[in-house]
């Protein structure tokens, strides 16, 4: 199963991920960065499995991230 990965520390809080895929992303009101929802957090690297039907949107999100901290693997 494919995974979505967010290297959260370098997020600049532009909000494009939440805009494109609101069911996966939420802008934190605490520190202004995006948070990958329902993800495991390993040292501020957030990882969660994604359903195949979400693969294309997730890839679009990864491509849209201006600081390239989102990956689909």
């Amino acid at each position: 199963m494919a995974k979505l990965i967010q290297y959260r520390e370098k997020c600049i809080g532009c909000g494009i991920c939440e805009e494109l895929q609101p069911e996966y992303w939420r802008m934190s009101m605490k520190d202004g960065k995006a948070t990958l929802l329902h993800a495991a957090n390993k040292k501020n690297i957030l990882i969660r499995p994604i359903h195949q039907s979400d693969f294309e949107t997730s890839t679009n999100v990864a491509n849209a991230c201006p600081v390239k901290i989102i990956q689909v693997r």
Binding site: C11, I12, G13, C14, G15, I16, M27, S28, M29, K30, D31, G32, K33, A64, C65, P66, V67
Partner: protein, 413 residues
Amino acid sequence: MGRKVELLAPAGSFECLQAAINAGADAVYFGVEQLNMRAKSVRSFVLADLEQISFLCKTHGLKCYITLNTVMYNHDIKLLQLILQAVKKHEIDAVIASDFAVINQCKLLNIPLHISTQANVSNIEAAAFFADSADLIVLARELTLSQVSDICKEIGRRQLKGLSGKPLKIEIFVHGALCMAVSGKCYLSLHAQNASANRGACTQECRHPYKVTDLETGRELVVDNEYIMSPKDLCTINILDQLVNSGASVFKIEGRSKGPDYVYAVTKCYREALDAVEAGTYSLEKVEQWMTELSAVYNRGFWEGYYLGNQLGAWTSKPGSVATEKKVYLGRGTKYYPKINVAEFLIETGSLKANDTLMITGAEIGAVKELVKTLTVNGVLAEKATKGDKITFKFPYKVSGKDRLYKLVANDG
């Protein structure tokens, strides 16, 4: 201090901060976390660094200003408040901002405010409008010297005061990168790569070469200089006396993404030039010497910006820097012998020989040039050192394992 003009240097890291201190800056500006226009920069401070930044600046008698100058969204407000509370606690001298959320919060928290160049203040009425909230206005970079001078005179005539009750101050840019966008409000990166310059994520699209192609025929138009959107860097050291007479009281050097060698060299030149203007010893010969030193560090070629009413046309002709010198990485600090003031470095790559000019950079050193006349390699005098060797030489600053050693060589492009 008693100086007529305050020299404001960029600090993107502790190395750069130390370099600015060493070079004689009166003040530094910096950003933390993601709410500043260099959010994407590899060099960046975090909120926890504020205490140390404030301590260092106070110890050395410098003022420090924090940039909170991006466009702000709803989800940024909490972080903004956290940063402002820390700014208050650690007595940072002022916030630089253009977003009304920041302006309002600073007023509520009684934090001194400088209006960022992003606000594009270009006339006296706009300056007067912001005087209710701020103590200083950074004018738009596109103004001519006479426009700057007129605004300063009018502030004096109207006796405009800032929020603190002191006369409203004016800041102008004196050196560093310019861009084709009005007051930095650029959407090119956003359109090309979804990276907003206004959120500190400029991808420098304007610095690339472009060609114009007719999509119907595939024919290409000839463009004189394909770097049609990339202006040369601002340099005003040759007109600095005129800038001092304009009435602006803070002179800003651009470059929070630049390295400590750049910060040191540029700040030092402008420190010397400002001191020379005040002492009445500013001369053409000195300007030539400073121009040589400024040309050695990162630059895209120089012009005097819009101050003299120049038409745009001073575009770069090459990608990246045309600096006359470049740094070549050699290795890291390994030991320091304080009793005899000797530093030891491990050469990790490349080689050096006696009489090479070296540069050592570090958080406690800044950027220091050192001409090593006699080279001691692994404890014996030698002509050359290569990878794996340990070299030692007399050096007045304490060296740590994080300090980096470079060789300065001519940049042949």
